[in-house]
């Protein structure tokens, strides 16, 4: 449904995309992950027809972007990271306007506008001017705007970044339900969200795809056990982390304030030695747990490995 082959995008000396190969199968919800500046937004802008690749091929919904780009807009829905609208319009007018552009009949437009405003919880604000909307409301309206014409492919750039927890939950549930109806490519830096709704994950760094795999397979392949400990103070956390890094069973040790996060290669050995190490170093622990590896752990592991190369 979405495919890129050796996609390059250069902005002067900056290589935003450096041979990106991406395949998104029909009907999947694809989580597109990467650190800031990895090339996620550039990829989505190229796939939506707003930007052109320097070289390489890209196709969306069976349309080659180089030759069939003009008909692309009828098949896709694109949500930019910060959706903007005409501030003088109301959400109803805006969705009706898009419906007109997509050739919907007056009856269809009216029904679709009502349905979408209810779907994104904006029915009560349907007659208010968009200019007075919060960022979260604009984001929800943006999601509705991408769905007006029931596209085959949805390209969502950080679709829930501006939403409060309730709004985020609702939009994520919506995206999850869309999975069976259309193909979704969603970029996000909130890994828990991706873990929750995406069934396939791709991780991009420095403009290249590091890994692309079904979520469960990725977790099985890359997730290593993680121990999380909270120390009494930052200094002892750092001191202990320095000690742990030289242990052969430790794959990675991260310190975030008083929290020490240890990714391990040999879980049995770690279980035996980790607490002993804390006692030997006279580290006072407030909390200690063996946690379930998350997508975040996999992401950090892969991105750090890529950065080190």
């Amino acid at each position: 449904m979405i495919q890129t082959e050796d996609l390059h995008k250069h902005y002067g000396a900056v290589h935003a995309l450096d041979g990106l190969n991406l395949t998104v199968e029909s009907g999947t919800v694809f989580g597109f992950l990467g650190p800031n500046g990895a090339g996620k937004t550039t990829t989505l802008r190229i796939l939506s027809g707003l930007a052109r690749p320097t070289s390489g091929r890209a196709s969306v919904a069976g349309l080659d972007l180089a030759s069939d780009g003009r008909t692309l807009s009828r098949r896709i829905g694109f949500l930019p990271e910060e959706p903007t609208f005409y501030s003088w319009m109301t959400p109803r007018e805006f969705l009706d306007y898009l419906g007109r552009l997509h050739g919907l009949s007056p009856l269809e437009r009216s029904a679709r506008t009502k349905e979408l405003l209810e779907l994104v919880n904006l029915a009560e604000a349907g007659k208010r001017r968009i200019g007075g909307f919060s960022r979260g409301m604009r984001q929800r309206l943006g999601v509705a705007a991408t769905l007006v014409h029931r596209p085959e492919v949805l390209l969502l750039d950080e679709p829930v970044s501006a939403l409060d927890p309730v709004g985020r939950k609702e939009v994520l549930e919506l995206i999850e339900t869309l999975g069976g109806q259309c193909t979704v490519l969603m970029s996000s830096h909130i890994l828990a969200d991706v873990e929750r709704v995406c069934n396939v994950v791709g991780i991009i760094a420095k403009g290249r795809m590091i890994v692309q795999s079904p979520r469960e397979a990725l977790m099985e392949r890359y997730a290593q056990p993680v121990f999380v400990a909270e120390t009494a103070d930052t200094a002892s956390a750092r001191r202990w982390a320095d000690r742990l890094r030289i242990q052969p069973w430790a794959a990675a040790v991260c310190v975030d304030g008083e929290i020490v996060r240890v990714t391990v290669k040999d879980i049995a050995q770690a279980r035996k030695e980790l607490l002993a190490s804390a006692v030997a170093q006279e580290i006072v622990l407030r909390r200690y747990e063996e946690s379930r590896p998350s997508l975040e752990d996999v992401f950090l592991q892969l991105v750090n490995k890529e950065a080190a190369q």
Binding site: L50, R70, S73, T84
Partner: protein, 253 residues
């Protein structure tokens, strides 16, 4: 056709954001005050205390020529300035705010996007100019004499052509840059350039500014036609629009 859907949105936007009313009001004020100023300026001058002896007698009796002259002068100065102010941000602002990116991922061609904006601006200035012209014609009738309708319509048609030239050039400037401020700077530079070249003795005959003098002479029942200037004006409009469309078609939003 999506062109008409976009045009409808542009016209609604002009109405809701009060731009249409502002343009109409400003042009009507200039239309109304032109014959008034022509009629009463000599009286105002004469009423100045301690006016040097003999100067009052030298001030000519106002006529319909002064009314038309004042109207043309107002449109050539303030009308064009208004065109620039209203047109300079139309594309740059949409690129800057992100609404262009939002809209262009839906079925709106970049050509339709630009031409709808040009057409909407043209309609706004044409309607506003028509109302301004009517008010000027009526006050001229009250204060002086009736202007012949045909030639007066021709004068306003030529004024509209000059307005369209500046709308097209400003639209091009707005397309070439990404911010409203840069578009304003470029548009004023273009205005100064066109006005500067137009004031040169021989070359000026072929520039759009010549249409004002032709129109004024027409309205007063005479004057040499300036067909080359009209041709150049049409050429500038076409060239500016084609350039804007070609540039915008290739631009990454």
């Amino acid at each position: 056709m999506n062109f008409f859907i976009v045009l409808r949105k542009e016209l609604t936007e002009q109405w809701r954001t009060k731009r249409f009313l502002i343009v109409a009001a400003v042009l009507v004020v200039f239309g109304l005050t032109s014959p008034l100023l022509a009629k009463f300026t000599p009286d105002l001058l004469k009423s100045i205390p301690n006016i040097p002896t003999g100067l009052a007698e030298m001030i000519p009796v106002p006529s319909v020529t002064d009314a038309v002259g004042q109207y043309v002068k107002n449109m050539a100065e303030f009308g064009i300035l208004l065109v620039l102010l209203m047109s300079m941000g139309v594309v740059a602002q949409e690129k800057e705010r992100g609404t262009a990116a939002m809209l262009l991922t839906h079925p709106v061609s970049r050509l339709n996007f630009l031409i709808a904006k040009f057409t909407a601006l043209g309609i706004m200035f044409a309607v506003s100019l028509a109302v301004a012209a009517l008010s000027c014609w009526y006050y001229t009738l009250l204060l002086f004499t009736a202007l012949p309708l045909g030639p007066y319509l021709a004068l306003n048609g030529l004024i509209l052509v000059v307005f369209l030239v500046y709308i097209a050039v400003t639209l091009l400037c707005s397309t070439l840059v990404r911010t409203q401020g840069a578009a304003a700077g470029l548009a004023f530079a273009a205005l100064v350039l066109v006005a500067g070249i137009g004031s040169l003795p021989r070359i000026g005959e072929y520039f759009p500014g010549r249409l004002f003098t032709w129109g004024a002479a027409l309205a007063l029942g005479g004057g040499d036609p300036a067909w080359p200037a009209l041709g150049v004006a049409a050429g500038i409009i076409v060239l500016a629009l084609v350039s804007a469309c070609l540039f915008f078609e290739r631009e990454e939003i």
